[in-house]
């Protein structure tokens, strides 16, 4: 059905640890993995699925490791990738960092986890909080009495254990919205020598929001989250205030999906501690929060001149923090000179970027940066890519979509009062403005 075996390899292709789940693929097949990958890389055509004979390798890369699943069946590929990423998540929760050393330092636990995460190619319990209840790193301290299967493992509520206690019952809700933006660029050619680049129009923009929880609640609380969801309002017939149309919503395992499907109610028993409750996608066009106008003039064999104007197109009361405008420059550029109306700019040669940083950028304001670079008289023959200008920022206390938490109802049979806290933040996602270099 899915994986026959799972391997963790270092960058040289050496097996650090592996687990054979089904025994229908020769474990030595893994030796073909790296050579295959190298060949693909040479051709510039890597692919997350490779095959050798009738063995298929499905792989992901994490830090200095390859995680590889082998199979010789028509396996469920999306399940395998979802599983491999889950393995990364679990290992990271256990060892803080998942890398070559942490595998070796913890090989006993790694084996135990691999045994518990998957059986005969079927993924089993992959919730790290629950796993930590019966697979602990302190192996030697393990008392026989303690090592019972938590009933949670097989419960319908497989993500929360019973008997959790807090003195103060609270839940923290973070609503985080990321803006993805793609703006086209165009080039004008002047005198055949100078290339002027400027930005064009918005090609696509969307918002990906997530609702994260930090739950510090006792017992088995029933929670209900109310958002200003347009579909919900339409359903209940109420019509006050601003609502938001969510294009697509994805929920944590704990949310009752059929309930949401029928009446848009988000009801759940939350996992303890931190978790991502939901994510959503919004298609509505919004004005780019930070608009960049750039003119990049390239005088061949002589210099590049860059002018970047950044404009905060959001409410005056809000402030964007840690704004970073990253402008690509030719790889053979030298002797940078900068002039900024605010913040400071620097040249990062290893990334071929000019990076302009503004710590605090109030809404409605406009700033300017000029840079110039020298170019060698003998031009670089190699074709260079045309990386886009990218922008990073975050704006606290604000959601660009206008989404709001209207209520969070918390009901537990012991009847305690619990406090929900809400925080909003908007940040840049994939925020790209195409340039033509």
């Amino acid at each position: 059905m899915s994986a026959s075996a799972v391997f963790v390899l270092d960058l040289k292709g050496k097996v650090l640890i592996c687990r054979n789940y089904k025994g229908d693929v020769d474990m030595a097949e893994i030796d073909h993995f790296l050579p295959l990958l190298m060949t693909q890389e040479e051709e510039g055509l890597t692919c997350p699925i490779m095959s050798h004979g009738n063995v298929h390798f499905l792989w992901i890369k994490h830090t200095n490791l390859y995680l590889v699943a082998t199979t010789n069946k028509n396996s469920n590929a999306s399940l395998v990738y979802a599983f491999l990423y889950k393995v990364v998540e679990v290992f990271t929760e256990y060892f803080t960092e998942l890398e070559e050393e942490s595998i070796q330092d913890n090989f006993v636990v790694v084996y135990e986890l691999l045994d518990e995460l998957m059986d005969f190619g079927f993924p089993q319990t992959t919730d790290s909080k629950i796993l930590q209840e019966y697979i602990t790193q302190e192996g030697t301290k393990l008392e026989v009495a303690k090592t019972k299967v938590p009933t949670t493992v097989t419960n319908a509520v497989s993500w929360r254990s019973e008997g959790i206690k807090y003195k103060k019952n609270e839940v923290f809700i973070d609503v985080i919205e990321s803006i993805n933006l793609l703006v086209s660029g165009f080039t004008r050619r002047m005198l055949g020598l100078i290339h002027v680049n400027a930005n064009g129009s918005v090609m696509s923009s969307d918002i990906v929001g997530t609702v994260k929880l930090k739950t510090m609640l006792s017992g088995m609380p029933e929670l209900r989250l109310g958002l200003n969801d347009r579909a919900l309002f339409a359903l209940t017939g109420r019509d006050k205030g601003k609502t938001v149309t969510m294009e697509d919503v994805k929920f944590h395992q704990c949310v009752r999906l059929s309930r949401f499907e029928s009446d848009r109610t988000i009801s759940f028993i939350p996992p303890d501690g931190e978790s991502e409750l939901m994510s959503y996608r919004i298609n509505t066009h919004v004005k780019p929060l930070i608009w960049i106008e750039s003119v990049i003039e390239k005088f061949s064999h002589s210099r590049v001149e860059i002018m970047v104007k950044a404009k905060g197109q959001f409410k005056k009361q809000s402030v964007a923090n840690n704004v970073e405008v990253r402008v690509p420059v030719p790889s053979d550029a030298d002797s940078p000179k900068f002039k900024t109306s605010t913040g400071h700019a620097k040249y990062v040669p290893e990334k071929n970027l000019a990076v302009w940083t503004i710590k605090s950028f109030p809404g409605g304001k406009e700033f300017l940066m000029r840079a110039s670079f020298g170019l060698p008289s003998v031009e670089n023959d190699e074709m260079e890519g045309k990386p886009p200008i990218t922008v990073n920022f975050e704006i606290p206390y604000f959601t660009v979509s206008g989404i709001q938490v209207r209520y969070m109802k918390i009901i537990e049979k012991s009847g305690y009062q619990a406090l929900p806290w809400v925080r909003y933040i908007t940040q840049s996602g994939d925020y790209q403005l195409r340039s033509n270099f």
Partner: protein, 915 residues
Amino acid sequence: MTDSKYFTTNKKGEIFELKAELNNEKKEKRKEAVKKVIAAMTVGKDVSSLFPDVVNCMQTDNLELKKLVYLYLMNYAKSQPDMAIMAVNSFVKDCEDPNPLIRALAVRTMGCIRVDKITEYLCEPLRKCLKDEDPYVRKTAAVCVAKLHDINAQMVEDQGFLDSLRDLIADSNPMVVANAVAALSEISESHPNSNLLDLNPQNINKLLTALNECTEWGQIFILDCLSNYNPKDEREAQSICERVTPRLSHANSAVVLSAVKVLMKFLELLPKELDYYNTLLKKLSPPLVTLLSGEPEVQYVALRNINLIVQKRPEILKQEIKVFFVKYNDPIYVKLEKLDIMIRLASQANIAQVLAELKEYATEVDVDFVRKAVRAIGRCAIKVEQSAERCVSTLLDLIQTKVNYVVQEAIVVIRDIFRKYPNKYESIIATLCENLDSLDEPDARAAMIWIGQVPRSAQTIHSLGGVLFQVQLTLLTAIVKLFLKKPSETQELVQQVLSLATQDSDNPDLRDRGYIYWRLLSTDPLICHIGSLASVYHKPPNAFVEGSHGIHRKHLPIQHGSIDTGESPVSAGPVVPIEQAQSVIPSQGDLLGDLLNLDLGPPVNVPQVSSMQMGAVDLLGGGLDSLLGGDLGGGVGGSPAVGQNFIPSSVPNTFAPSPTPAALSSGLNDLFELSTGMAISTGGYVTPKSVWLPAVKAKGLEISGTFSRRQGQMYMDMTFTNKALQHMTDFAIQFNKNSFGVIPTTPLPIHTPLMPSQSIEVSLPLNTIGPVMKMDPLNNLQVAVKNNIDVFYFSGLIPLNIFFVEDGKMERQVFLATWKDIPNENELQYQIKECHLNADTVSGKLQNDNIYTIAKRNVEGQDMLYQSLKLTNGIWILAELRIQPGNPNYTLSLKCRAPEVTQYVYQVYYSVLKN
């Protein structure tokens, strides 16, 4: 202190040292030693010689140590099978441990020890664990059954583990259900024809309930299993879809994709005019788009699947072309895939945007990507005629860049555009010629030469190209046709030709046609594999999975009958035999047929079967070709004398999947439910052979025969006599669809030539898994027999008693209830005259034919016999036989939900009692 210390042992005498430590008196020391052993194993050292010492450490109450020892066992048991036996006791003991964690660990590990000798010892512990009180143990045991099946399938079946597994589908714990489903699905992969999972509406309901409660992985197992189910009608399909759609909101992308698979498949069953159909289509788009914000590998799988979905149902994503615009930081495999989807979604409405994007990509640095982008511009020109001019001018702009490979690719593409739209863009030739010198690739040069010839002899070249193209097109069509007829032999050929036509051909029309065929032949079945490797490779599983040839082909369901009648359709279940028709998809069969006949006209070899009314029409009217299969085995194979094109028997079924005769009563629907009889030995009444096919009608071949049931097996017993002057060879037989789905189990066992005036006795075993069609009379069977001379047709009546199964004895209580339950108008009375037997003899005689006497009553001097019998298709017939002393006329009352059959049952009574 970390575990890494265990990796640093001094090389010299390492094994010896470890051996000593493993036998140390102190527990802690032993555990340390086992860790060192495992560490050595991890880095690939051979520590198998320590087997007995490690196994000695197995008896411990330290869970961690136990796990390590088990790990060692899994690794080395296979290389030390004799010593692995030592571990058996420990497993058996651990399976009884009070701690469920240890019981589960034991049952999980023992299934991983792939040593045949050991497995039999594991049956008892496994049996207990399957019934364990702890769900954690049960879910582990469920998986263990699949493991054991992999090692010794026979044993698993003999021990009844498959039944236990099936029972677990009704388990109260969702995780147990999910794992049982996973295990059964896995096992059924190697049992292509069995209905292991027994997917019936009750079980489906259980699965749908568990779907809401189990883990994300369990949901995937269940969804994948659901996608193999064929709902009986649109209502059932819709209700399943309604319960599956909430899964589209799951955070796990694999859950989403598996849900999409179920929905895409069941969409086939929903009529397009249904509101729900459109609602569902709309629901599919947002989750597919969201998959593109996942990890790059997840995006890749999603894109490959979207590519298939877009081909099948372009309407789902036609508004979403922007999400497929390439981002600078996308990995190359994502970029190339997005490009492909962009072209598929390109239309007049969005072509301006698409072209602007493609032009942007064509100035990137990645050569492969750039070339593909340039080619894409050409494909747009050919796909969207209105855009051709724009495409040409875009290509000219690109040629101005003077980037070598861009220029070359653009010139190749322009040639294609010239061919598609002759005499339109020739004015640009001069511009193209400027680049003559830079062309160093053969393709580009050839294209330029072609273009260069245009002004001088545009007409000639064009017509020549035209002729060639016609030939290619005809050839392509012919090969696709051949594939439909002989799928197994020509699959490779057809794949080759299609890839030539679509990738290597420079003729856009040919490519388009190739794509259409390819799509028709392959996309649809691939939809059944959404999320799997097949969907990523865009190949059917048997193209890359060894040993899966000929088994387990998936197909999209078929929308039954006409929607208006609303009758529940016939035989949606396991009988629809799509098996041999490879990946050809039924619902599009007509379309394909039309396409195939586009160029070649009259010889309609794809039968347009309509079996709506008269039984015989479909078979005999459809032409000889449709009757006999080329895949009948030895009888026909390779006979050069057969001048006809024989279509595999399954093709007609594929194209006309048992439509619903509107007149069918609900009783008859019962009739078509299949079930298999139990095999207990009896020998029933056999009518004497009669001549079915007289020699005068069959160019000298005479066939006489009868039907019988022996040891629970049905036979057609025949005598073939050659009354001609020449010898006869190459015999083959085929049945038309019939009321009971009777088909031969084997090819006709005549392997030697039949000499003149020679006779041969043949016993042809039959089963009832064939396609079903109501015949009139009900027991009529139409048969075609072929030999080297010709094809002959005859029909015979099957005495119904060969369908009386051995387990036809009904419980008394059930009998009473059923009798009451069947409406009185279904009761029919018959007289059997001049019969001089007493009640006991009657019972005895009838029992030989699987008519069972349940009770005998004496009412007012009359003997009343209450009897039951069951047909192979699961229909019960209840009988009351009244015998009055001194009266040779018996009265037979028959009650059945399908009263059509009673008259034939009466005939059986009559012939049994009168002979």
